[in-house]
């Protein structure tokens, strides 16, 4: 009798096992929904799968009578635009600044303490300030995402840069590299995949800030819609939206990983990706 710790599922049972919790969740929901609907066919709290399908069809494939838009897709586009712009800007600025901070002792001494303190500000507490300064439009939402993600980006990249073996920096100098050349040829190429890692890790936080900003002041977006629908207890819309947001987040994470493997073969071969 082998120990349980040494038993591994084969391929097919592995896939089945991975699917099990998802199936369990759907089943539990379905049972709960059936019980409630049997008691009261107009129950709104746990709508049946059929009711949710109808709601999604209405939002995704029928024009809204007031605006003429397909709300589901308009919401998705608005949210993705804010999210990608915010995370993109934060990654570029935070990545470059973090690497510079980690590489140059003067920059590190000047900014390491400052960024460490900035990172302690709860970004949501900044939201009123951002609304006052930037108005209720797109800018304040994007700035919230940037403000929330940037300190983490800077600190993560600075730490990764400091972890580079000192030998590499010395070696580069014996090959005649200037500070700038060390940055562009030695450090940046090795830190790019780390920037993508940091971006992946901060996507979760970015979604949180996005939904919070959309919930408070917005006319469109996935977060706006679910908080609007809350007033009508429209769980048949809210639940599919939450599932959709989850799927979007998962897909983005997966795409970034694929890109990393494609671009950074050297790291993948090392088994570090």
């Amino acid at each position: 009798m082998t120990r349980f710790i040494n038993k591994k599922p084969d391929r097919i049972s592995g896939v089945l096992l991975a699917a099990l919790p998802f199936a369990g969740l759907v089943l539990a929901y379905w049972i709960g929904s059936e019980i409630r609907l049997a008691e009261n066919p107009n129950d709104k709290i746990l709508p049946g799968l059929e009711a949710m399908r109808i709601a999604v069809e209405r939002l995704a494939f029928e024009q809204d009578r007031r605006t003429g838009e397909y709300l589901f897709w308009a919401d998705t586009a608005a949210s993705l635009y804010r999210l990608l712009l915010g995370v993109g800007i934060a990654t570029v600025i935070g990545g470059i600044f973090g690497v510079v901070q980690g590489l140059l002792p003067y920059m590190n001494r000047t900014f390491a303490g400052f960024t460490a303190v900035l990172a302690m500000i709860p970004p949501l507490a900044l939201l009123p300030i951002l609304f006052i300064v930037f108005g209720l439009g797109e800018v304040s939402k994007i700035v919230l995402i940037i403000a929330g993600v940037l300190p983490f980006m800077i600190r993560d990249l600075a730490m990764r840069t400091e972890e580079l073996p000192r030998e590499q920096i010395i070696k580069a100098q014996t090959l005649g590299a200037s500070t700038w050349q060390i940055f562009v040829r030695i450090v940046m190429p090795q830190m790019l995949p780390r920037m993508f890692d940091a971006m992946r890790l901060s996507l979760g936080a970015a979604w949180l800030f996005l939904i919070a900003a959309e919930a408070i002041a917005s006319q469109s977006g996935l977060g706006y819609r679910i908080f609007l629908m809350r007033r009508y207890l429209a769980m048949d819309v809210i639940i599919p939206y939450v599932a959709w947001i989850t799927l979007l987040a998962f897909t983005m994470d997966y795409m970034v990983r694929l890109l990393q493997r494609f671009w950074f073969g050297w790291l993948y071969k090392e088994g570090r990706l």
Binding site: P165, E167, R185, P189
Partner: protein, 260 residues
């Protein structure tokens, strides 16, 4: 090819004296093996020659000129680990040195200049026997191959001095003797001055034309921080010989004491 002259050198970290009274004249073109127990400051000495550490007192001259206080292309180096860049292929690693000097902004070459540099790099790669692996990344190479690559990379700019910091310490014995032959061949061909730190005495006496040992003269525990190590043994080696037994016994004793 360059001579190194060290006079009155001291190195202290705070109140901890690491090296004291180091006076050395190293002839141009010699292969100096530096041995000593762990913690005797031999790597610190190498770092000072490299320009990564600054002496507390004393001076180092290279061909009569004061040493530049930061690493540069005059001094090539191979460390025990992390000497090559993991994000570049074998060719990329060797080519890098030529690209950095050829293009100060981008550090990259294009067109005819790249072709010329590439040919030069490939020659060097052939010289260290890595032609079959030009497109591989360092992580796909064995430890011995990585050190061969590091040698090629360090030598392509023809430095005056080659510094080796326990370069073969992590290699298997069989691979070691191969790479010993390579180092000896490159040293003779390029005519450079080599300074190698090692803790392997037989390696020191096989490769070196001169073997220098650092050790502390005062070894009582209460004295170790106030007195640093200095040159305790200095011998010219004309042909490979077995290490003298008294040196071996000394080092053994020092290691044993350090371990306590």
């Amino acid at each position: 090819m360059s001579a190194i002259s060290v006079s009155g050198l001291w190195k202290e970290y705070g109140r901890q004296v690491v090296l004291e009274h180091i006076d050395l004249e190293i002839e141009s073109g010699s292969f100096v093996a530096l041995v000593g127990p762990s913690g005797c400051g031999k790597s610190t000495f190498l770092k000072m020659i490299l320009g990564d550490e600054v002496p507390t007192r004393g001076q180092i001259l290279i061909d009569g000129e004061p040493l530049k206080p930061e690493p540069d292309i005059d001094r090539g180096v191979v460390f025990q680990r992390y000497s090559v860049f993991p994000h570049l292929t074998v060719l990329g690693n060797v080519l890098l040195a030529l690209e950095l000097s050829g293009s100060s902004f981008w550090g990259r070459l294009w067109g005819a200049r790249r072709k010329k540099a590439r040919a030069e790099a490939l020659d060097m790669i052939e010289c260290v026997g890595l032609t079959a692996a030009v497109k591989k990344f360092p992580s796909e190479l064995s430890g011995g191959m990585q050190q061969r690559l590091a040698l090629a990379q360090a030598l392509i700019l023809k430095p005056k001095i080659l510094l080796l910091d326990e370069p073969f310490g992590a290699l298997d014995p069989g691979i070691r003797s191969d790479i010993h032959q390579l180092v000896q061949r490159l040293w003779k061909e390029e005519g450079i001055t080599v300074l190698m730190v090692t803790h392997d005495l037989s390696e020191a006496f096989t490769l070196g034309t001169r073997v220098i040992a650092f050790d502390r003269l005062r070894k009582r525990p209460e004295e170790t921080s106030a007195y640093g190590a200095t040159v305790t043994f200095d011998m010219k080696v004309d042909k490979p010989v077995a290490p003298p037994s008294e040196l071996e016994a000394d080092l053994h004793e020092a290691q044993r004491q350090a371990a306590q």
